[in-house]
């Protein structure tokens, strides 16, 4: 079984958003900064006044790795698998997986959001933009 995210009052809108087909991030009412993962205060201006916005779904690969051996038993059958850092068009960055052959992966490649239900968890994953 995949490790379960620990849903807290702070992160609940993020996870329920994914179940509803939306990738949400936080934006500061005071300074306009946008970020993930969820925080109580804006890390730029420290304001606690914030809202959730829905990501457009576009982004680019900042970097990526391929696990050749599993650290956790849930991934024993999945190796090799990639983990990537993706920066959304709106600015926030997240850890994710990109559904693409590893020989096609490269930094700065544009990607497109695809929300997957995997083992009962709705996850924000990405595909290479312009491909299926």
């Amino acid at each position: 079984m995949l490790p379960r995210p620990e849903v807290t009052p702070l992160t609940e809108p993020y996870w329920s958003g994914l179940a509803a087909g939306e990738l949400r991030f936080q934006r500061c009412h005071a300074c306009g900064n946008a970020w993930l993962p969820a925080r109580d205060q804006c890390p730029r201006c420290l304001s606690g006044s914030r809202t959730w916005e829905v990501a457009s779904g576009g982004g680019r690969i900042i970097s990526w790795v391929v696990y050749r051996q599993a650290v956790h038993e849930a991934f024993a059958e999945r190796v090799p698998y990639n983990v990537a850092i993706v920066e959304l068009d709106e600015g926030p960055r997240l850890i994710t997986n990109v559904d693409a052959p590893e020989e096609d992966l490269a930094i700065e490649l544009p990607v497109r959001l695809r929300i997957d239900e995997d083992d009962g968890v709705f996850l924000p994953r990405f595909t290479l933009a312009g491909r299926r």
């Binding site: 620990e6 900042i62 696990y67 999945r78 850092i85 994710t96 996850l123």
Partner: protein
């Protein structure tokens, strides 16, 4: 305060598998050896700085170690910057000595992740575990990938770092891993998390290392036989996790080195030998860039052709580093810096007068720099 404080003594335990030894017991052994090396009686010690054991948190661990040493410190405690901790604690000890807060400090570190638990190095990164995002090696691999694609750094460049460390470790009788490798061996080692294979990653080791720190004047009064002056130190940190870090290929090493080099009055070209934290090969390559030994992005060409080996342009990790001597987080590099300045290394760089040492923690979150010289 350049040169006003010295490292008076160094000590360590065996490195590798030490079943049945607690971190406290290993700390005591390393401190005992460091005091013997300095020829200083325990009664002179009035400060105890301890790195927390990564494998198992113990509250108020500084007091636990001080009690085991039978020392009632004027100043001390536990510091946590991951692998940057040891040089940082040395820096705080030096500043405390310079300001009359203490007289003779011991700085010590011990852990037993090899026979104990290595869980600390394989942990999940919060909710991102659901994507399979686990472990320290993958964090560094993420940085290495970015560096390779941005600057054309190759896995063979990283191999140069491992080959140098393994050659030096093979000649060090105290090293845990004493087998030299070639670039071909490196390329064939077991894949772990691309772009890293096994030989990109440091050892997992039990063991302890300690130093005795005091003023130059006090060392003279006590008849310390081989004090090594601390010329400069500095620190730098980023708080951002890898995924949130605006730039993956530049680190706080640059800030840390600027502070330390300015204090010491040295430039990279004045450095004869370096001990650079090598938890993973990429760490050395990026530290060389951030310290100004070459420009950003040129670390690969800089290390190519054996530059880092004894006899090369800048011998690095002459005791084998974390890749070959012991995976202990950082203090062994300080000890080797002291040996190079004393002229007693197993891989002595002839005529070396200035040594720089780096410590680094987290996923390149924390950094500290030490510049050592000669009397």
């Amino acid at each position: 305060m350049r040169g006003d404080v010295v490292i008076a003594g160094i000590g360590h335990t065996a490195f590798g598998k030490l079943p049945g030894r607690s971190p406290t017991s290993m700390n005591v052994e390393a401190v005992r050896n460091a005091l013997a090396d300095a020829r200083v009686e325990k009664e002179a010690v009035d400060a105890v700085f301890v790195k927390y054991p990564t494998s198992g948190h113990v509250p108020m661990y500084g007091q636990v170690v001080a009690e085991a040493l039978g020392v009632q410190p004027r100043i001390g405690g536990v510091w946590d910057q991951g692998g940057a901790t040891n040089i940082s604690m040395l820096s705080f000890a030096a500043m405390a000595i310079a300001h009359g807060q203490c007289d003779v400090a011991v700085v010590t570190t011990a852990d037993n992740p090899r026979t104990g638990t290595r869980q600390a190095y394989e942990r999940a990164w919060g909710d991102d575990a659901v994507f399979g995002w686990f472990g320290t090696p993958a964090g560094y691999a993420m940085i290495a990938r970015r560096h390779m694609e941005e600057f054309g750094t190759t896995h063979e460049h990283l191999g140069e770092i491992a080959v140098a460390a393994r050659r030096h470790g093979a000649a060090n009788p105290d090293a845990q891993l004493r087998s030299a490798i070639t670039l071909e061996d490196f390329a064939r080692s077991r894949p772990v998390v691309d772009p890293f294979c096994r030989d990109d990653c440091c050892l997992i080791s039990d063991g302890a290392a300690a130093i005795v720190v005091m003023s130059k004047e006090r060392a003279r009064q006590l008849g310390v036989p081989a004090p090594v002056p601390v010329l400069g130190f500095g620190q730098g940190q980023t708080s951002w996790e890898v995924a949130q870090r605006p730039t993956l290929t530049e680190t706080a090493a640059a800030v840390s080195a600027r502070t330390a080099f300015a204090m010491a009055g040295v430039r990279p070209e004045d450095v004869d030998v370096a001990q650079l934290y090598d938890c993973f090969t990429i760490t050395v390559l990026m530290t060389l860039e951030d310290y100004g030994f070459c420009t950003k992005g040129q670390g690969g060409p800089f290390v190519a052709g054996g530059t880092l080996q004894l006899g090369g342009g800048l011998p690095v990790n002459t005791s084998g580093g974390l890749l070959s001597e012991t995976g202990m987080p950082g203090m062994q590099l300080v000890l080797e810096g002291v040996r190079q300045m004393r002229g007693t290394s197993a891989n002595q760089v002839a005529g070396a007068r200035t040594c720089v040492v780096s410590n680094q923690g987290g996923i390149m979150h924390t950094h500290s720099t030490l510049v050592l010289g000669q009397e």
